[in-house]
Symmetry: none
Subunit: 285 residues, 2 copies
């Protein structure tokens, strides 16, 4: 009964499609009908149930199972995975861009860890590029571009982001103050900020209480606050004028700052560009 034609059945949609096209004429009428529908409506296959799909095609549910088995799959559920994985892959374009490049992952634990973090980074980038709101990004840039001085608030895991932005801002001649440089007097330093300045707060779970405190402080003082965090529930998000969520994927519980770094650099450069345009138009007046 088990009509296992040869080796293992395709796991990706492209090969599945090729197989159906090749074998279509040798398949029984009903099964060919199913195959044609599968290629035409892959999404229906991925999300629907055996009942809903079979009704859409106009066949019995059992026909779907037969179809799957004829092709070498364990059953309809097994076949459905092909269509689901297709959707997942389509969504992470960065990820398979990189996966396509990688040659052979040698077995060693070390290389697995490395590959794991590279994958996570690619995934984070893909997610970010999908979810980020360019309008809000532009708004944030506008706020920062007209600020007299930019205050950077970050501790612990987020600190590298702040120090990186501080370096680039400074290199481009934009006035910044990096909280945390001189320990202990941050509240006093940030106390000098006014509504003509702006602040960037960065914090990820578990949120540093100092960062939260400082962020609330400047927000209460009327300083436009922009936050970079990992969740809408973040305490610094609620007191911010604008906030950005960057969900870094983790590998075995650890998160790198890859996507955040790219985002922060983009923010920094965009602000610098906007300032250049501003001063150019000011010169004309």
């Amino acid at each position: 009964m088990t009509d296992q034609n040869f080796d293992t059945p395709p796991t990706d949609f492209e090969h599945f499609r090729d197989m159906i096209v090749a074998r279509k004429d040798s398949l029984p009428k009903r099964l060919a009908q199913v195959g044609e529908y599968a290629i035409r409506n892959p999404d229906e296959f991925a999300f629907g149930t055996a009942a809903s799909v079979s009704e859409a095609i106009g066949v019995q549910p059992s026909t779907l199972v037969r179809f799957a088995k004829q092709l070498g799959y364990a059953g309809f559920s097994d076949l459905k995975d092909v269509f689901r994985s297709r959707i997942k892959e389509q969504r992470t374009s960065y990820q398979d861009r990189i996966r396509a490049l990688q040659v052979d992952t040698a077995g060693s634990a070390e290389s697995e860890i490395l590959q794991g973090f590279l994958d996570a980074a690619a995934g984070s980038l893909g997610a970010l590029s999908r979810t980020v709101d360019v309008t809000r990004f532009a708004e944030g840039v506008a706020i920062l571009a007209k600020a007299d001085c930019i205050y950077l608030i970050a501790r612990r895991r987020a600190y590298p982001l702040a120090s990186s932005m501080a370096y680039t801002f400074a290199k481009m001649g934009i006035r910044i103050v990096l909280a945390g440089s001189a320990p202990g007097i941050d509240p006093e330093i940030l106390g000098g900020a006014t509504d003509r300045d702006a602040a960037i707060a960065m914090s990820f779970t578990p949120y540093s209480s100092e960062t939260v405190h400082l962020a609330r402080m400047v927000a209460r003082a009327g300083v436009p606050l922009i936050s970079i965090t990992d969740s809408p529930f973040s305490p610094i998000a609620e007191c911010s004028r604008i906030w950005f969520e960057i969900a870094e994927q983790d590998f075995s519980g650890f998160r790198s700052l890859s996507a955040s770094m790219a985002f922060c650099m983009a923010l920094t450069v965009a602000v610098a560009e906007a300032r250049k345009r501003q001063s150019a138009s000011n010169d004309l007046e």
Copy 2:
């Protein structure tokens, strides 16, 4: 029992998300936990089953149903549709977003900059994954794993990498010394390093003379030195036991640290893992 708060529950993810954010504080602890997870891992919600999702969150399946009902949905299945439709929409919108980006480059300079940096980061990750030598990576890990204390040397653009590694190493109980914390006395601090320790130097063009100087110093003292840099001609590469080249792609002249961050985190975690294995085998003796 049916807690129908008001009108119909959201059918699209954005509104759902807003609702959770708004009502989070008025929700019971467990339900808030579910809500947070739902927003963070929408894909898991879309594809998983009640059992798998509840296990991932660490709650009972019944909690998911309660969560859905509290929010006004008929049940968990009903709620799941919100996440499924999100995926369907995303797939179409993502494709025409790429197209839109390519066609109307006019779409605000800001979004172009952001996309540019994200693309550059993805490119850097891909290049890194292709060029990195996993054998050398494993060797580097081995050296660092048996070091008494790890000295981190980095300045300027590379400093965020060092501070990020320092944070993670410290969190995992690995002894580290971050050069640059107390300005001016780095040579004296690094003078204490011996061949039982190890050092990581990081520097990119234009190479900070301090970093180069400190790296040479520890190398001469017999301390195993591992470098992360952007060229084989880097002055810190030649005095290193092992060195890694990470070529970050630039966008309009600016480079972020995305790929480097992923690499450094991988290195850090790999070292911690190796140490765990070491101490485990030591305990057996």
